[in-house]
Symmetry: C4
Subunit: 202 residues, 4 copies
């Protein structure tokens, strides 16, 4: 397996998943005079779309960061990568579900659960790279993990909280999803690419 | 962040958005003898499709022009680029809306508004590159901005006019959208690629 | 404009258009015992799908052949290329139309008309490259055109015949579409890649 | 034909096919209180989705393995490759069919039949490369075929068994499909990429 080709395939899946999201916003089928209010009612769908767009963008960035330290891949790594792509390319479904049933606990739970699965897969990939240093350009040190693992813990903890709040305060769930997204995005934005700091800053 | 990978990801999003547009033209569901007149009624949809196809093509060219002077990217640039991709990959929705409700003011406004958002994001990217010369191969001079900014002003001004006219003369809105597109396309066509002139010709 | 990036963008559009075609075959919505006969009734749809798949594949090959002699691109070439991509990425609509209304003259005409438009655009691209030798690695000679132009004439002539026959003998139209496809495909298959013969063999 | 461009085109088709699969899971259209049970009823759809995702991933890996030994391509190879892509990009249809009519013999048969067609095309490609050693970096020896051909025989034999069982024990068909997938995936995972063993290990 050529590392570049796996990267190109993964990029393709991310690019398609992010672009397919727009299909979750359906054109309303109403008489023309009712179009305005029908579109206003779709605003939660638009919010879900924008959220999901940046979620996929962020995971693409995370995938890119991970790829950056990979030198060669083995069979297990390929399948872990595929599992990651699976949970990313699933996202148009929870996004469409949340767009169709806004502010409902079940879609919030399905959506949050998918985010958690992507995160856990990302963590497994990191641990796999740590325990297989022949696959990476530089070994991932304990310090690297010491900064990465808390990030997984608090994001997944907040996603669980968002799922729990879906029952009582569904708006709060949206705020948590968006808040985590913005926090992680800001963190990424602070890192100057190409990588001038080491993995432990990540 | 590798500049090439961001470019490849962006190209993927543009290519998918432009190809998904065809899904905005629905196959009519009528008895066979009524097919001819059903297709004739779809002609405004076809016009919207062709317009949108060239809009995405033009934005792809603009993105390419911008990328050409970029040497490396930082976190803020990546997110500005993502915002640009967001407004481009949204286009299938306004296009489908305009195809479903032709000659109506609301879809014209939504469509024009998205075009304005893409333009403003493009302007922000240009300004960001100007104020961060370490990201570009050559600094973007004041002269460069002096030709770029008027282009943003008159295209966005015309889009606003198109939105305003949507209420009284919806056909005029279509003509303005198409006219701006053709004017910018002709301007691009005059520039010989690979870049033999400087950014200020753009 | 970087030639490679235009090529990558075009490849993306071809790959998406060819894969979207499967969406033209709808899953029947019938009680389970009626599924078998519902699927049998879909066989013309399947035939249309397979035909369209190979049509796009063939145009991709033709695009590749053309790109092979291109050294650099200018603005006009970019727009001619976009026009080509437009008519290719439109194909899922005529394909879906023909799949929904099999053996009807109007869908046959729309389908054939799109094929003719792709062909004519391809011819324009060839003529443009001939009259702009700075864009090509080797000048396209008169001999080159002498073999290319008859190919355009007879394929388009046969497409027109297929459209004409759609009224009386719709099955014959399908046979002509498939026959032209097979004839051109066989011709391509005989040429050993990478190009060991000159353009005039094409 | 440039080998790299055929590879990039094929990668694009695989990436799109795998991502489009999510469209086979439809958002239920029920009153909100009934959403939970509606989603539970969709679990077989989810299972079909996950199965199909890994089927495409596996075929992409198989395609990659094959490409690895290819040095240059000829016209026949290009068309065999297209036939392979055809049967892969068809998969969203049988997947949607099986998702819509779970545990029914006809969708199981259509699904299994498509898997068999992909396999047979793969076998043809291998045989074509064996008999055309100018296309490969290293000749494919008899030993190589001696390990590849049994793999085709037992996978296709099991797919046929799954189709046969679809009538009496549809659950067993699912188990066979998943079992073959896991067995082949494990086999691939054991091979360290980049290829440190020869084709006969495949």
């Amino acid at each position: 397996m050529n590392k570049q080709r796996l990267e190109a395939f993964s990029d393709g899946v991310f690019a398609i998943a992010i672009t397919l999201l727009i299909l979750t916003i359906r054109v309303p089928d109403v008489p023309p005079p009712a179009l305005g209010s029908a579109l206003v009612q779709q605003l939660p769908q638009v919010a879900t779309y924008v959220l999901s767009f940046f979620v996929v963008a962020l995971y693409w960035l995370a995938h890119h960061r991970m790829s950056h330290v990979v030198k060669q891949v083995d069979g297990t790594f390929v399948w872990l990568n595929m599992l990651w792509l699976l949970f990313v390319s699933v996202l148009p479904f929870p996004a469409a579900l949340l767009a169709r049933y806004p502010l409902q606990v079940i879609p919030i739970a399905v959506y949050g659960f998918d985010l958690i699965l992507v995160n856990i897969t990302g963590l497994f990939v990191t641990l796999y790279l740590k325990t297989h240093p022949t696959l990476t350009t530089v070994p991932i040190g304990k310090e690297g993990l010491r900064t990465v693992i808390p990030a997984y813990v608090w994001t997944n903890g907040l996603y669980l909280a968002a799922i729990g709040l879906g029952w009582l305060l569904p708006w709060a769930s949206y705020v948590i999803f968006a808040g985590v997204l913005i926090a992680v995005a800001v963190r990424y934005a602070k890192i100057l690419y190409p990588f001038t700091r080491t993995v432990k800053d990540g």
